[in-house]
Symmetry: C2
Subunit: 494 residues, 2 copies
Amino acid sequence: MPTPPLAGGLGGPAALRPLIDTVLTALHDGATLRDGPLPAGGPDTVTPRTRTATHPLIPDHGTGPHHALRNLVTALAAGAADPAHPHCAAHLHTPPLALAAAADLAASALNPSMDSWDQAPAASALEADLTTALAAEIYPHAPSPDAVITTGGTEANQLALLLARERHGPVQTICGANAHHSITRAAWLLGLPEPVAVPAPTGTLDLAALDEALTELHRPLLVVATAGTTDTGEIDPLDAIADLCATHGAELHIDAAYGGPLLFSPTHRTLLHGLDRAHSVTLDLHKLGWQPASAGLLAVPERHHLTPLHHHAPYLNADDDTEAGLPDLLGRSLRTTRRPDALKIAVTLQALGRTGLADLIDRTLATAHHLADLVTKNPALDLYDHPTISTVLLRPTGADDHTVATVRRTLLQRGHAVLGRAHAEGRLWLKATLLNPHTTPQDLQALLDLITDTTADLLTGTTTDLPADHLTRPPATPTATHPTPHPTESDTPR
Amino acid sequence: MPTPPLAGGLGGPAALRPLIDTVLTALHDGATLRDGPLPAGGPDTVTPRTRTATHPLIPDHGTGPHHALRNLVTALAAGAADPAHPHCAAHLHTPPLALAAAADLAASALNPSMDSWDQAPAASALEADLTTALAAEIYPHAPSPDAVITTGGTEANQLALLLARERHGPVQTICGANAHHSITRAAWLLGLPEPVAVPAPTGTLDLAALDEALTELHRPLLVVATAGTTDTGEIDPLDAIADLCATHGAELHIDAAYGGPLLFSPTHRTLLHGLDRAHSVTLDLHKLGWQPASAGLLAVPERHHLTPLHHHAPYLNADDDTEAGLPDLLGRSLRTTRRPDALKIAVTLQALGRTGLADLIDRTLATAHHLADLVTKNPALDLYDHPTISTVLLRPTGADDHTVATVRRTLLQRGHAVLGRAHAEGRLWLKATLLNPHTTPQDLQALLDLITDTTADLLTGTTTDLPADHLTRPPATPTATHPTPHPTESDTPR
């Protein structure tokens, strides 16, 4: 076999062209084979089928690029839960825009690494401008807003806790019971005290309980509020929380991984009032920004807040190189090698502009409101609440939690729909996180029909196409390693 | 503007095709404009040019996808340090294979997220098989080898220290003075004691000094050895270090980010003897594996060693879902949303096979040996040593450190070559990290000619094409935040 061609250089584009043609054909073939939001049959079917199609992963003699691309990409597409399908709506799992995926190809081909200027001359300039511009969207009145690009909200939240730790020592984090799991995980990682969870009985952080916690706990304190919760897409009362933090001398981090991009919508940005009072803000453009993973951000109002990330490695940022004018980029991340995620984000923002992005956001939120309206009109379904952003919780009227969980798994198992789950008001709900701006009212009605039909099937026992154990398995016995997190969740079969 | 199309679904490939055509044309145009390994002029030229070409990043009204892609991708390519150019050889900054970059497009288009099965049915099966297969390459005799995919060696090293901390509490890390900077950074991040640095006067960790440190320090201890150092590409005496660790009851982590893929070469794998005695191993396939960033791995000999990463988030891995057979993937990373980097790696391994990958590795190492031979034959250049992997240190004969640093910056400034720098034997060297399997002997000779010609220019003062301050700037004054790390480095101008 001749030495396989590289993606870069003058010859790269010509080498890529036929390979990409194979990839696009395989993506289409895989989607045709799948024929729905995800393959039917669950892991018991998909895992062995994928394994067979891709075996052997490390052959002695290669099968050549076209065969391997056709083989593996077809298998991946045939076995995908494709967020571009309107019935794939479980998670904050966005369907990427074609233009963003196309831009990301250039990042792969050129392979700039963001840890030193001499690996990314133009990419580092682009990233610096983009992070400054995005930080200024979040902190329009701050003296020197800045941001660093992360692998997502989880890393951004981790950095927020790390920066607080470096400013104040072993800071005590206080977050709502509605906060993302990454807050607790970050505290564990960083050797910080376990976060104190303030109740959020109505879905948002309870202000009286927060006031009490701030009064009782010793400083230094870091409050984490959420703008767009994972379970219900609600937004904590940011401005009132900022007031309490100011009163008690606590710092505030806002996890706006989900809700942050509402800033681009003149219609919806008022939902984020108070966001710019935070010491740091998490934002993910691989959620309401339609980027392929990953496109996370941590923003701060003043550039010098990022100083604790500065780091010295003579091969990357020797003093005399820095002194001679080579930018020192190592302190822009905890990673070293780092992909230029700024490119796809910048292409998207320039291609769409503020108005185009606002249109996508407004369209998506309107879709969610329409789904909620359809639920309220359907006597077989209960609605949790009208959505704040684009998360709609619903459940079959009168169903117990076990049935709700089984409806979700049955839809998955049949390959009919990918819905999430969330606890609220002591009950389990089906969760539809709408992120697809192309979803139509007909798609939404079809999704509700799938839910009600599946519920009826389950309750009348006409689910003979499913393995019995997926429906009648007895409640899980909690183990030491996996304690039941929500004692309110009833697993008792009807 | 109509709602822009998505990358996924049945219509995605057709939407992607014209956009990708624009990207490939822009990559070619940018490479033509650049006409070399990197643009000339340094940051003072590249940064404003990039800024002008890409301004405004967030316009009110979008310019449309083709304009934005053409504009930004051309700017990025024109301003790239392209590792596919044979004279771009500073860092472990690989030129990706076209087939790997093409595979990565499918990851962007489908956007599976690896944190739950219902976002990545086939991708999670593929990742599980791939990580098991790669771990078995590293630990061929272990009972249940496993690995997790990381953003690179930095995250893998961080996980290694984290796993040791979770097993033993506040573990004391001992590493060589030749270890990667990420070891120290990981200890800081995790709240662990600062690593003890054992001397590595000849480039590899000194065994007597390690023995002494292991004797003096209190357990629990974690020794970090390096297989492929950043500065010289040398490999610590792994087997002897494993013996010392066994004697003293210390654990061993091996950072084989660079050298690990030598396992695939029957010719060179003996260099890694002892690798499988480590409690964990870091490996980066975005170095000697020709993947676009990122493609890191942390491997362990027994699956249960990864248990401390297990994590519970009811929306992703509810007990009853796990009990019903949905795989629990959240514990495969500290990240939540996570790109399927397994795809490009699997495509590469299947396309090339062991023999094809071994051929790339052998070819690259032969290139490095050829460069070293050329240096030894050149009276104007000194060679540090024959390369162990593919890193060649050289310096103009008789030059002082300031001249060496200036030669490097001059080559960068002129857009002629991207070379790294490293300290060894108390002196500063130019570093060529060869990772391009297409580099020819003629390319290498031309690179050496560039070095000797530039040195002659500098020493005879014929460098009028450069801004004066890039050559005559006085030595940097060490600051509190950036102390000079190597007191042996002389910055005194001649």
